[in-house]
Symmetry: C2
Subunit: 469 residues, 2 copies
């Protein structure tokens, strides 16, 4: 499987590389006509991809070669950090051209990354209607369905005929051409149901729209303030390609589409990933939630990492202090130090495994808070089996390095350390969820440091007890 | 934000809990009619969800209460491990009812988890046509676009009129009612393009279908043997809700839909997550690639974890051997051991951070193999800054516990350990990709163990040099 991925990636990279080189050459040799031709034949997403690979100065120049009507589309596919840089390089006219043509959800996505004064300035560049709409969308909580949705949906009345509805669909602008789901509202604009376009095509024109609604189809909606992660869960659960967003009175406010959801799912996975690796996440003042590693400045990476490293230093100072308690034992039998990395790392490793499984299972909904007791029991049996296997493995090393008694110390310590480490790794994500922290805060490094600390105490306690040190 | 998630989850869980209790009660009190009513009013996905929460015996019984025509739909939404258990509880007639009504991609998904003899037996239960189709799909490589696709698509000829095409669309069965994209093929069945249904609705009936194709729309396809992860990347890149799968001659073989892609994206993220946590992944003989932590037997969890734990023991034996080289230094100055967890864990922590950022960036395509040198330079500057900060923090502790010289040893070691740990964490995912291993194999525990080993050597080397031990 890996062979195949690699081949695909390499061929993709080669064509991309070739295209990039040609593009840069056209740009540098000022062949504006050929450049325009090439851009016209390229999809917006691919242009965005090319632009992101360019040096900053080239990127700014290349963007100016795009026809005005395509700029917003291309801009919406560029990474956030580069969007902000491009925006900062423009005068107000350039900004107006792009911003007033962005789709409402893409505009919201951009504005929420900017400081308040800038947002106010940019909003004033927009036409009245677009400005009011943007302000409404920005009024919804961060990471909510309201921020994610677009208010561009297409609705018909339940008591219209199918023929009238089709006529209305035909008269819509091209903007809606990919809208495949038609929403049905009643006279008070309350959402009644959603119907695939295909069913309109097959219906009898003189029948009422309401005849197209099937009995068993209960309507699935999401509240405008619900978390965007909930939208992902609902759309995946029901295999929806579009999800209506409603206010508490069930008025249709907008729709979340599946391409937004794919992006949210990736962002959520990245967040959890980074938390598990003890890399800081969330708003760190940069206005960027998901940094691109390729584009991030070293100073940003430094800020995202130093916090946890320093916190963990202090956990490890306790580890050192624990060792200091056993200095006499160490002086008496220095061979004990030989097994220190072996014994304590195993606890951290087993704990990291447990935490990883648990954090992911909580994130995907495989496991719930209420399952903890059942999982605890299972974890205990798995950890005991792992600990015993590990004990047998290290007892051999113990015999070779320190004789019978040391082998016994190492084996017993190993069982304790693996079991305790696993249970810490399993429980911490639950405890964090309970106290309303993200379970992924139970990162590998945190689990490792805590397991190390408890491992040191257990190892030397067992040693002093058995060896009478 | 976490408050909100929590509220949503709790309310979701409460309704679910209530529904589950009612369901179990109806089932146990043999109220078949009310049970049938409740099931009829519930979506297939929700029935599947209820079933998965039941005890096994109840689940088997409840499934029998479903009308035959809904069984396949509900079955397709149940987790793989429970699907296999249900299947094993049925006679051939029960199996035939479900299997012959499964969508082709769901059937493939189930069959690929079963041993060869069972697949052969099940295939013989299917109607001729469905059997041949399933065998074709199973002939594509594992994890390929061909395994993921469904051959249920709707195609019209380029030289038909729009009116004829719409007539053909109307005459299709309900099965295609959510098909919103119409494929256009030429006389040799070669794929020409894909057109949203909405454009047919707006077109003039007497025009030819080919007039609906817009100039700038180059067709995006995926080869039938390409990796399914590539399908995710393409659909996310171009914001597609459906992706045509073609053979090398550009004949349309089937389509991948966005709901499949959401599942693949989640599976891929889970795979990477578990690899990063040093939990074994891939086919371990259980036939299940993505285990459910809730349902997994302890023996399966044990097998998935013990491998890496044992491998890491041997890395740590080298750590112990390194310490043994410095036994004299330790005996001379036992306070050195106090700083051992502090110094060596910091290297592992910094390395885990780097590896996490790098593995995720490689997985999302943010970073490519060719970027390694630029990233190496950046990592070096970030790591140096982190190391210096950490050195200042621990020098204070060093002064307090061991005086000026020890503080110097600890500070210098800390810089070295953080820089070397970070570089290991950054480079290993690249090296693994290069030698065609999954980059996520550079798990936190592996990085920690390697960083520990190098940290021990560096720490004691610095100590012996500066303190003349």
């Amino acid at each position: 499987m890996n062979d195949r991925i690699d081949l695909v990636e390499e061929s993709f990279m080669q064509t991309e590389e070739a295209r990039l080189n040609e593009f840069v050459q056209l740009l540098h040799s000022n062949q504006h006509e050929r450049l325009a031709e090439q851009l016209a034949a390229t999809r917006a997403q691919d242009i965005a991809f090319l632009l992101m690979e360019l040096e900053e100065a080239d990127r700014f120049a290349a963007f100016k070669h795009l026809p005005q009507e395509r700029r917003a589309d291309v801009f919406s596919h560029i990474d956030k950090s580069q969007q902000l840089a491009l925006l900062a390089s423009w005068n107000d006219d350039d900004k107006r051209v792009v911003l007033s043509n962005l789709l409402p959800d893409d505009l919201t996505d951009l504005l929420e990354a900017l400081p308040k004064e800038q947002v106010e300035h940019l909003l004033r560049l927009l036409p009245q209607k677009a400005m009011r709409r943007a302000m409404t969308l920005l009024g919804y909580p961060a990471d909510s369905a309201g921020r994610l949705m677009t208010p561009d949906y297409f609705a018909v009345k339940a008591d219209q005929t199918i023929g009238e509805a089709l006529e209305a669909i035909r008269n819509q602008t091209d903007r809606y051409e990919t809208v495949n789901t038609i929403f049905v509202v009643d006279d008070n604009q309350l959402l009644v149901n959603m119907i695939p376009l295909r069913r309109f095509v097959s219906g009898a024109p003189e029948d009422s729209v309401s005849t197209l609604i099937k009995d068993e189809e209960s309507l699935v909606t999401i509240g405008v303030s619900a978390d965007e992660a909930e939208a992902v869960r609902i759309m995946r659960h029901y295999d929806l390609s579009v999800l209506p967003v409603v206010d508490p009175g069930n008025h249709l406010l907008g729709i979340v589409t599946v391409d937004d959801v794919l992006d949210v799912a990736e962002e959520e996975a990245t967040e959890d990933f980074q938390r598990m690796g003890a890399v800081g996440h969330g708003d760190d003042g940069s206005g960027l939630f998901n940094i691109s590693l390729r584009d991030a400045r070293p100073s940003l990476l430094y800020r995202k990492r130093i916090g946890w490293l320093l916190i963990l230093v202090f956990v490890n100072v306790f580890g050192g202090a624990a060792i200091a308690q056993f200095e006499d034992a160490i002086e008496a039998l220095v061979v004990l130090v030989f097994f220190l990395p072996l014994v304590i790392d195993s606890g951290g490793n087993a704990g990291t495994q447990s935490a990883t499984l648990m954090v992911r299972a909580l994130a995907t909904g495989d496991v719930k808070l209420s399952n903890w007791l059942k999982l605890f029991t299972k974890e205990l049996s798995v950890a005991a089996a792992l600990g015993i296997t590990m004990a047998v493995a290290v007892a051999a090393v113990g015999l070779w390095r320190g004789g019978m008694e040391v082998a016994l110390v190492v084996a017993i310590s190993m069982i304790l350390v693996v079991v305790v480490g696993s249970l810490i790794g399993m429980l911490l994500p639950f405890i964090f969820t309970r106290i309303k922290l993200d379970p992924a805060t139970a990162s590998g490094p945190l689990i490792t440091s805590i397991a190390d600390l408890s491992g040191i105490v257990m190892y030397f306690s067992v040693a002093t007890a058995i060896l009478n040190l």
